[in-house]
């Protein structure tokens, strides 16, 4: 799995034309071999996948052939289209490309087109496109839905997709792949160029770039950039007491602060926005030197984030505490230390973060991993070894989403009438849809045309109609408008703005968090302590606060990535082999030795389940190592099954490593309890009620165009959307359980927040290999998860708890006794 990408024999590269050779020479530079190789591929009309680390001149390599072609044969019209996952990146590339083009005196129009582009400019861009256009997948989809798309793109020579490793997976990748398939129909001559960091599965990206969706497509050449120096990864061995549990690593922040003081500029990565807020607060509490330390995460106001990025680019900051909001983005050559607070969760992600430090290839990037608890020490060690061995994590390839396909079908109908056969063939040229069954295509087509229900009562309200040649076209301009307003595959959880009283907006919190606030509550947001005043006009209104006490920290849905499968394997291997324990901090070594004495180490090729009584309850702890999402699902299913078996389960808690369930009666038959058949009826039943599945359905329904993000002229709060999506989910499940939207929902449930796919693999793997240890008390390895009980604020699970236990019973228990009818005013 870690074999290098197949290197095609290097092509003889023709010499650079004069202005280019001169430009390199004037700077004392020589073009990198991979830059020349990219040019040779272009000369032969081949598509190319460039895999190179950051700092290798990837962007120039991607654009060089286009610049040369335009210098040698100047012409009007769109020549090269560049697609990046971030608007900011498109803007940055614009700057980085315009400078050399001017220095070489190339007469070129290079422009961006994103959601921020003014309307007049967009209109002009359609009439007279620039030679090089820099855009995002969403803006490309929008452009392709215009009736003049064919005219805009017919002369296109190259499509460059940047950060392909980040874009190709997931629904944005599906949307872009479908867009590229359409581009190939409009401009068959256009070659594709993918720029990527080192990846687990280069063949997947080759297939993605291929116009046939095939990895063995000889027309896609793989070009490997020189790899940079080995990163230097260090794990912080704290002088403080290493905590048993928790994720904030507050104990180590003094030591982190010292490192920040010693380094020039430091990026402090954390895993969640809540962690970011707390780590930022704590660093400022320690910040006796008044170092400029900033905060960056996805819920802060855009202007605030831009200010931080600009200050960083200008070298005015010593540190930024950031979430994945800075995983991708503009290069900052000046970063010389990356700190990862909390578990890295995956090798690829850690490498991506490491790549944010020191963009000079020849110097190693420096990273400090800060484990927040004992299990995280193991995980950090596993990640460090993974980085050294360059074994990357891979998302298992998944089929393209049917909801995205439905959106694309409507978009292409907006562009003009299509023939279903030809369109189906075009779609199968996109790698995620290569195996798309005709029946699924037809279902999506009918979903778009009239809802696609077995009960065909909506025939007369069709959104798509067929003309006399059988071609499909959109039924009216209102549908086109609605498509454009709802375009895109990112569906955010409903949020509310956070605003200072009479002042500016600080960012957004999920509505769910806002609902839990009572006037007078304090909470930490945007690095400030705020006092909640109330909700007004869809905003959370607050004032700054100085008071002490226990402020809340907003929790966000999906804030955490689960532990990667590959990292989990390394941790398991490490646990089983005491020889690997050398070099662990003493506290960790002792903890593991105690576990071996009291119980047994979890085996690599099986599942250890411990059971023990504690505080009048029977505990069951399973060492699955499948990540918290899969464990949450497992918890739901186990408690259902235990309920049926009369064991009276009371609750469960899941971490990335283990799951603990407690009940009134002990479970004895582990083989039966963990039998794979729980993925049958139990799962179906749970899916009917799970709020995670309801949320998944809502996202699918929004992307597929069943539910609108916002009705024209009607303010709809996110809450109302959730509500009606729930009702629709119930009705649809009952009346048409096989509807294409429910199939798409189930496909999504295999990954993501429910991670059923991973759970299913684990249950299969451990059949007949369950090692059950009956203990008289808690084992050392089980202590961390028990400490999480009651402490974890788990969004999805807690909501499900309420549903599953019966919300009403909880209401009885938690609030005033039911109103005495006799006391009602009469």
């Amino acid at each position: 799995m870690d074999a290098p990408a197949p290197t095609d024999s290097a092509l003889p590269a023709p010499p650079l034309p004069a202005p280019f050779a001169g430009w390199f020479a004037a700077r004392g530079w020589a073009p990198h071999p991979h830059q020349l190789e990219m040019r040779a591929a272009a000369e032969r009309g081949e598509s190319a996948l460039l895999i190179a680390p950051t700092g290798a001149g990837k962007t120039l390599a991607g654009f060089l052939p286009a610049l040369i072609d335009l210098a040698e044969t100047p012409r009007e019209g769109l020549h090269t289209l560049y697609v990046s996952p971030l608007k900011a990146l498109a803007t940055d590339i614009h700057r980085n490309l315009t400078a050399p083009a001017e220095e070489m005196r190339l007469d070129l129009a290079i422009e961006t087109r994103t959601g921020d582009t003014p309307q007049a400019k967009r209109t002009r861009q359609r009439k007279r496109p620039p030679q090089i256009l820099l855009t995002t997948p969403e803006s490309l989809a929008l452009l392709l839905s215009y009736h003049d798309a064919a005219k805009i793109f017919h002369g296109l020579k190259t499509v460059v997709v940047d950060e392909l490793h980040a874009l190709a997976f997931g629904k944005r990748g599906d949307l872009l792949a479908l867009g590229l398939a359409r581009l190939s129909a409009l401009a068959p001559q256009a070659r594709r160029v993918g720029l990527s960091a080192t990846v687990h599965d280069p063949d997947f990206l080759r297939a993605w770039l291929s116009k046939r969706g095939a990895a063995d497509d000889p027309v896609v050449r793989t070009v490997l950039g020189r790899s940079g120096a080995e990163p230097e990864v260090e794990i912080l061995t704290t002088k403080e007491r290493l905590p048993w549990s928790g994720h904030m690593a507050v104990h180590a922040l003094g030591e982190v602060y010292d490192r920040i003081r010693q380094a020039g500029t430091t990026l402090v990565f954390v895993n969640t926005r809540a962690q970011a807020e707390l780590v930022f607060q704590e660093l400022w509490r320690l910040n006796e030197d008044g170092l400029p330390i900033a905060l960056h995460h996805g819920s802060l106001a855009v202007e605030q984030r831009r200010r931080v990025e600009a200050a960083m680019a200008a070298g005015r900051l010593r540190a930024v505490v950031a979430t994945s909001s800075l995983d991708l983005g503009v290069d900052w050559a000046s970063v010389d230390l990356v700190v990862q607070v909390g578990a890295p969760k995956g090798v690829s992600r850690l490498l991506q973060r490491l790549g944010r430090a020191n963009h000079r290839l020849e110097e190693p990037s420096k990273a400090l991993l800060v484990p927040a608890n004992r299990f995280e020490v193991l995980e950090c060690r596993a990640a460090k070894e993974g980085v050294k061995a360059r074994t990357l994590d891979g998302d298992p390839p998944r089929a393209g989403g049917l909801d995205v396909l439905a959106q694309h079908i409507l978009g292409m109908a907006c562009a003009g009438p299509f023939d279903a056969d030809a369109f189906y063939a075009e779609i199968r040229g996109a790698a995620p849809y290569r195996e798309l069954a005709r029946a699924d295509f037809e279902d999506c087509l009918h979903l778009v045309a009239h809802g696609g229900y077995a009960l065909r009562t909506y025939e007369r309200f069709r959104r798509l109609v067929q003309d006399d040649k059988g071609r499909w076209r959109v039924a009216g301009p209102a549908h086109v408008r609605r498509y454009r307003m709802n375009l895109g595959v990112i569906v955010d959880a409903p949020t509310l703005k956070v605003r200072l009283q009479g002042g500016r907006s600080l960012g957004e919190v999920e509505e769910y968090f806002a609902q839990g606030l009572v006037p007078g509550d304090t909470f930490v947001f945007a690095g400030e302590l705020l006092r909640f005043l109330g909700i007004q006009d869809m905003s959370v209104v607050c004032t700054r606060d100085k008071a002490s006490g226990e402020p809340k920290v907003p929790a966000y849905m999906g804030g955490r990535l689960p532990l990667s499968t590959h990292l989990a394997e390394r941790v398991r291997a490490m646990l089983e082999d005491p020889g690997a324990w050398d070099g662990f901090p003493e506290a960790v070594g002792e903890w593991l030795r105690l576990q071996r004495w009291r119980s047994v180490m979890p085996p690599c090729d099986g599942l250890l389940v411990e059971s023990f009584p504690r505080g009048g309850k029977e505990f069951l702890v399973a060492y699955c190592f499948e990540g918290r999402n899969a464990h949450q699902t497992l918890g739901m299913l186990l408690t259902r099954r235990m309920e049926r078996a009369g064991l009276a389960p009371l609750g469960f808690v899941a971490t990335d490593y283990v799951i603990a369930v407690w009940s009134l009666k002990p479970a004895n038959d582990m083989d039966a309890l963990f039998d794979q058949d729980m993925l049958g009826d139990d799962l179906e039943e749970w899916m009917a009620e799970s709020s995670l599945l309801r949320r998944t359905f809502r996202n699918v329904a929004v992307i597929a165009g069943l539910i609108e993000r916002r009705l024209p002229g009607q303010e709809k709060t996110g809450k109302q959307v959730t509500f009606s999506a729930d009702l629709i989910y119930d009705v649809l499940r009952k009346h048409e359980p096989d509807h294409v939207l429910l199939r798409a929902t189930r496909a999504d449930a295999a990954t993501g927040l429910t991670d059923i796919g991973r759970l299913s693999q684990m249950l299969g793997r451990v059949q007949g290999r369950i090692l059950h240890r009956v203990l008289d008390r808690v084992s050392p390895l089980a202590v961390p998860v028990l400490l999480e009980i009651g402490r974890e604020q788990v969004y999805g699970a807690a909501l499900d708890d309420l549903l599953d236990e019966g919300a009403q019973a909880l209401i009885d228990e938690a609030t005033a006794p039911a109103l005495d009818q006799a006391s009602l005013p009469v």
Binding site: G451, L455, G516, L706, G806, A807, L819, L824
Partner: protein, 232 residues
């Protein structure tokens, strides 16, 4: 006690203007003394109304609503049913109802005394589905109308607002549709399959109950009562 089956669907009776009324888990209200069942805001054919604009909500809402209505009727065996307005989502809704659902409505209206109160969505409920149409109706000190009138609260039973309420449990908020009453008037929850709701603390609802009110929330398995002061 209610003159009806003792089943967990019903909560203890409450009193409005001296009459004893039983809230049903489905969102219907049972008046034992007159063997009358009330429902509000069926919004039949809401799905097809959206479909006409190109938003294809599943076309099963009318069937789902009717099934729940049939179950409530089977449970209480009323002699009279009063639908408190907005029974049809729009003026053209009745024409869109499919043949099968149309037959089910006729069967319902044919087996008991059926009253359609006119609502703002259906000021003229269809004449060809059986039942009698009234702007409002008065029986034994109870007044049945679609929308509550601010100044005449005594014994008024109405719908229109689709009330729902929220309580905080373990720091979370749980919302559900609910009945709202202050002992003088009562507002029923919406009965229709796709109908959203308005929080009872909104001034549009709370303003109708200046002396305070209580709610009966429709849970998954039972009804639970709360005073307004427990909501939030």
């Amino acid at each position: 006690m209610p003159d009806g089956p003792m089943i967990p669907h019903a909560a203890a009776p409450l009193r409005v203007n001296g009459q004893s009324l039983v809230p049903d888990l489905s969102g219907a209200l049972w008046w034992p003394a007159r063997r009358t069942l009330m429902v509000a805001d069926l919004h039949l054919e809401k799905g097809s109304s959206f479909a006409a604009r190109g938003q294809f909500l599943p076309p099963y809402d009318t069937a789902a609503t009717l099934a729940r209505l049939e179950a409530a009727v089977a449970r209480w065996r009323p002699e009279r049913l009063i639908a408190l307005g907005d029974s049809f989502h729009d003026r053209a809704a009745a024409q869109r109802i499919c043949t099968a659902d149309r037959a089910r409505i006729r069967a319902l209206t044919g087996c008991l005394e059926w009253v359609w109160i006119a609502g703002n969505h259906d000021p003229e409920p269809p004449a060809d589905l059986g039942g009698a149409v009234h702007e409002e109706l008065t029986l034994d000190g109870l007044v049945f109308r679609h929308e509550a009138e601010p100044v005449r609260p005594c014994g008024e039973l109405s719908g229109h607002f689709h009330p729902k309420a929220s309580v905080r449990v373990r720091g979370r908020r749980v919302s559900a549709r609910c009945f709202v009453t202050d002992g003088q008037r009562l507002i029923l929850p919406s009965f229709g399959a796709y109908t959203g709701g308005l929080d009872v603390l909104d001034p549009a609802i709370a303003g109708l109950f200046p002396r305070g009110f209580s709610v009966h929330m429709l849970g998954r398995r039972k009804l639970v009562a709360f005073p307004a002061t427990a909501l939030g």
